[in-house]
C-alpha cells in the first residue's frame, strides 16, 4: 500500500516541507529564473500541465531539471477520469457504444468497433455479422485512422511553432469529417457501430463523396510531406529526439507507430486479423530510427496505406450492392429502422405503423428490446483492434444479464504514456514536447 508520504508517481516527497514554490502563470520566465538563481536551488521540479496547450489535453508532466536538461520525467494522469467503464455497467449492451465512443474522441470508431466485436464474440455471432456491415466498419476505421494521424501530425507541428502544418492537417481532416457527418450524422462521438452491425446503411452517394474526397486528402498529405520531411528546422527538432529502443518499447507494452518506429512490424490488422483485414492489400511501414521524426514519417505513410484500403473497400461495397447491415437475429438487432422524417432522423413511419396499428407482438418486442435490451451469455472475452495509437483492447465480462458486468478498455495512450520517462530523461526541456507529441496521447482515452 502506498504510504501517505508518497507522491502520485510513487516517488517520495522531498524532505524539506518549506521548499520554495514558484507559480508560472504567464509573465516573464527570466524573473523566475533569476529568483531561482538567487536562492541557489539546485534541484528544480517543473510541473508542466495539466493545463498546457502542448500536453494534448490534461496531461501533467513532472520534470526535474538541471539547467535545460531533464533529469527525471514523470507523467501524472487522471484529470479527465469520468468513470465511463463504471457507467457502462449500468446501461444496456447497445447503450454502451454511446459511452465508449467518448473515450478516445480522436479515434472513436476504433473503440466502438473493438467494443462491438467483443459483444459479438460474447454472443457468438461474430460470423453472422453481414459482410456489408464489416466493410462499412473498415471504411470508417481507415478514414478515422487518417483523421487521427492528421491530428497527431498537425498538433505536433503546431507545438513546434509551425502553424501551417496544423492548418493544412486540419483542412484535410475536415474533408473526412464531412464524410463522417454524411454517413453517421456526427463529426465525433458517432455511436454508429453497434453490436451486430452498424446503425444504418450508408446514404446514397456516400461512396462517391469518399471517392471525391480522397484526391483532396492525398494532395494535403503531399503538402504536409513537402512541408515537413526535408525541412531542416523540423528535422533539427525531431531527428534523434524521443528515442525509444525496441527492447524498451516491448518491455513497456508500447504498440502502434511508436513500436513500429523501433522496427517491429507488429500490427493487429496483420497479426490477429478482424473484420476481414486479411483480405485487404496493405503494408505495415516500419523504421529503425525510433525517434520522433520516424514516427511522423510512419504516420504519414500509414495515411497512404489507409487510403489504399479505403480504395479497395469502396470498390467492394459498390460491388456488393444493397444488403443488410445488421445481424438477422431480431432479438439483437435494433427493432426499428431509421428514416428521415419532416423533423429529422427517427424511427421509420412504416415501423411505427406496424407496432402501433397491426402487431401487438411487435410492439412488445420493440418495447422490451429498447428498454431492457438483449441478454448476453455469461463469460469473458478479449478483443483488440489496431487503433491509430496502438493496440486497443477490450475486456468484457458478462454475467448473462442485459448489461455489461465489467467493461475494461486497454487504451494504447494510457499504456504508451509510460514511455515518457524513458523518452525524455537526459534530453532538453524543449524536447519533452516533441517526445510527447510523438506518443500522440489522447487523454480522453487515457483517463476514460
Amino acid at each position: 500500500m502506498a504510504d501517505s508520504r508518497m507522491h502520485a508517481t510513487g516517488a517520495p516527497l522531498p524532505d524539506d516541507e518549506d521548499a520554495t514554490v514558484f507559480e508560472a502563470v504567464g509573465g516573464d520566465w527570466s524573473d523566475i529564473a533569476e529568483e531561482a538563481a538567487r536562492l541557489g536551488e539546485e534541484r528544480i521540479v517543473v510541473n508542466m500541465g495539466p493545463q498546457h496547450p502542448s500536453t494534448h489535453g490534461v496531461l501533467r508532466l513532472m520534470l526535474e531539471i538541471d539547467g535545460e536538461t531533464v533529469t527525471e520525467a514523470r507523467a501524472g494522469i487522471g484529470y479527465l477520469h469520468t468513470g465511463i467503464e463504471k457507467n457502462m455497467e449500468f446501461r444496456t449492451w447497445t447503450q454502451g457504444v454511446t459511452f465508449c465512443t467518448r473515450m478516445d474522441y480522436v479515434a472513436p470508431f476504433s473503440t466502438e468497433a473493438a467494443y462491438c466485436m467483443a459483444v459479438e464474440k460474447l454472443l457468438r455471432i461474430t460470423d453472422d455479422v453481414p459482410e456489408r456491415a464489416q466493410a462499412i466498419r473498415v471504411l470508417l476505421l481507415e478514414l478515422n485512422r487518417i483523421t487521427s494521424h492528421l491530428i497527431a501530425i498537425g498538433t505536433g507541428g503546431n507545438e513546434l511553432g509551425a502553424t501551417t502544418i496544423m492548418t493544412v492537417a486540419f483542412t484535410a481532416r475536415e474533408e473526412i469529417l464531412k464524410i463522417f457527418e454524411l454517413i453517421t450524422g456526427l463529426r465525433m462521438n458517432h455511436a454508429f457501430i453497434r453490436p451486430g452491425g452498424v446503425a444504418q446503411d450508408i446514404p446514397p452517394g456516400a461512396l462517391d463523396t469518399v471517392r471525391e474526397a480522397m484526391p483532396l486528402v492525398r494532395r494535403y498529405l503531399g503538402q504536409l510531406g513537402d512541408l515537413m520531411l526535408a525541412n531542416p528546422i523540423f528535422k533539427g527538432r525531431t531527428v534523434g529526439v524521443g528515442h525509444l529502443s525496441l527492447a524498451g518499447a516491448m518491455a513497456l507494452g508500447i504498440t502502434g507507430p511508436v513500436l513500429r518506429s523501433a522496427g517491429l512490424p507488429y500490427d493487429v490488422r496483420k497479426a490477429f486479423p478482424y473484420l476481414g483485414y486479411e483480405t485487404y492489400d496493405f503494408d505495415v511501414p516500419t523504421s529503425t530510427d525510433a525517434d520522433a521524426y520516424a514516427r511522423t514519417v510512419l504516420r504519414l505513410e500509414e495515411c497512404y496505406q489507409s487510403m489504399r484500403i479505403v480504395d479497395q473497400v469502396i470498390e467492394r461495397i459498390q460491388q456488393m450492392g444493397p444488403g443488410p447491415v445488421m445481424v438477422g437475429d431480431k432479438k439483437i438487432a435494433w427493432p426499428a429502422q431509421l428514416a428521415i422524417g419532416a423533423d429529422g432522423m427517427g424511427n421509420s413511419l412504416a415501423h411505427i405503423k406496424e407496432i402501433m396499428g397491426t402487431s401487438m407482438e411487435a410492439l412488445i418486442h420493440h418495447f422490451k428490446l429498447v428498454t431492457e435490451g438483449f441478454r448476453v451469455p455469461a463469460g469473458q472475452v478479449w478483443q483488440t483492434v489496431e487503433a491509430p495509437r496502438g493496440e486497443l483492447g477490450v475486456h468484457l465480462v458478462s454475467d448473462g444479464g442485459t448489461r455489461p458486468y465489467r467493461a475494461h478498455f486497454r487504451d494504447p495512450s494510457f499504456n504508451n504514456l509510460q514511455g515518457v520517462s524513458l523518452m525524455c530523461e537526459g534530453g532538453q526541456v524543449a524536447d519533452v514536447v516533441v517526445a510527447v507529441a510523438g506518443l500522440d496521447p489522447v487523454l480522453g482515452g487515457v483517463d476514460r
Binding site: 463504471k86 497479426a271 463469460g379 478479449w382 475486456h395 465489467r406 494510457f414 499504456n415
Partner: protein, 237 residues
C-alpha cells in the same frame, strides 16, 4: 449486498471442474421487499461463468499448456498447483493461476522460446462480491508476437486478503495497469515499484469499480417527473 446471499453461492467453482458460480440472483426488475405480486420476485438464478475445460483444448492450446507444465516442472512447481484450472471459451484460453506461482508462470510464458508471450498488454480487475474467498479477480492479457497467440491469466483473491505479487518484474509495462487495478478494486500488488492511485485523486477513499461502490448521481426532474440516478433505476438483471 447481504451476507445470506454469500451462503447461496456454491463453493469450488472453476477449481473443482464445474462451471464457476459467482452469484445467485433473486427476483427481477430490481424489486426488493415490496408487495410484488407478479411472481418475478420468486425467481432464483445462479450466475455461472464457464468452468474448467476437459482436454483436448483444441488448436495450439494443448501445446502451450504442455510446454508450460514442463517448464514449471523443471522449477519443481506442480502444474496443478500453479494452474488449478484451464478454461477454453469462445476460442480463448484462460489459465487460472494461483497467486503464489504467478511470477513463475509469467516468467515461463515470457522466456520459454516455444511460448514467448513477450507482450504484456495489461491487467484488469473484476469484482464478484458473492464468490466467497475469490471475490477479486485480476486478469492479465498476454500476447505472443512471435507465435501470433494470445492468452489470459486470471488470479482470484479474497477481499479480506487482496494481495497478489506484482507482475512488473516480468512485464514492466504492467506498472500503470496494476496501479489502475489497485485504484479501482483495491487489489494490492506486492513488490510494485510505486503502487499509488492513478485515476482517482491521491486522497480518495474507496475503490470505485467494486460492485458495492455506488455509481453516484442525482435524481433529475423534467416537467414534474423525477428520474432516479442510473444505479437506482429498475433493472432487469
Amino acid at each position: 449486498m447481504s451476507d445470506e446471499k454469500k451462503d447461496l453461492v456454491p463453493e469450488g467453482g472453476a477449481l473443482s471442474g464445474g462451471p464457476e458460480a459467482v452469484d445467485v440472483r433473486t427476483g427481477m426488475f430490481g424489486v426488493r421487499g415490496s408487495g410484488d405480486t407478479s411472481g418475478f420476485g420468486g425467481l432464483v438464478r445462479t450466475v455461472t461463468m464457464p468452468g474448467a475445460s476437459p482436454r483436448p483444448y483444441g488448436g495450439w492450446f494443448d501445446e502451450v499448456v504442455d510446454i508450460l507444465a514442463e517448464v514449471l516442472a523443471e522449477e519443481d512447481v506442480a502444474f496443478d498447483d500453479a494452474v488449478p484450472a484451464v478454461v477454453v471459451d469462445r476460442g480463448e484460453l484462460t489459465l487460472h493461476v494461483a497467486r503464489e506461482h504467478l511470477l513463475a508462470v509469467c516468467r515461463a510464458l515470457r522466456d520459454e522460446q516455444d511460448l514467448r508471450f513477450e507482450l504484456g498488454l495489461g491487467v484488469s480487475g473484476v469484482h464478484f462480491p458473492h464468490e466467497t474467498g475469490r471475490e477479486l479477480h485480476a486478469v492479465y492479457h498476454l500476447t505472443s508476437v512471435t507465435h501470433s497467440r494470445r492468452l489470459r491469466l486470471e488470479v482470484a483473491v479474497p477481499e479480506s486478503d487482496p494481495h497478489i505479487p506484482s507482475s512488473t518484474p516480468v512485464y514492466p509495462g504492467h506498472d500503470w495497469h496494476e496501479r489502475e487495478t489497485f485504484d479501482f478494486f483495491g487489489i494490492i500488488f506486492d513488490g510494485h515499484p510505486g503502487l499509488a492511485r492513478i485515476e482517482m485523486p491521491d486522497d480518495w477513499v474507496g475503490h470505485p469499480q467494486r460492485k458495492d461502490y455506488p455509481l453516484g448521481g442525482i435524481p433529475v426532474e423534467y416537467k414534474g417527473a423525477r428520474i432516479a440516478p442510473p444505479d437506482q433505476r429498475r433493472s432487469y438483471n
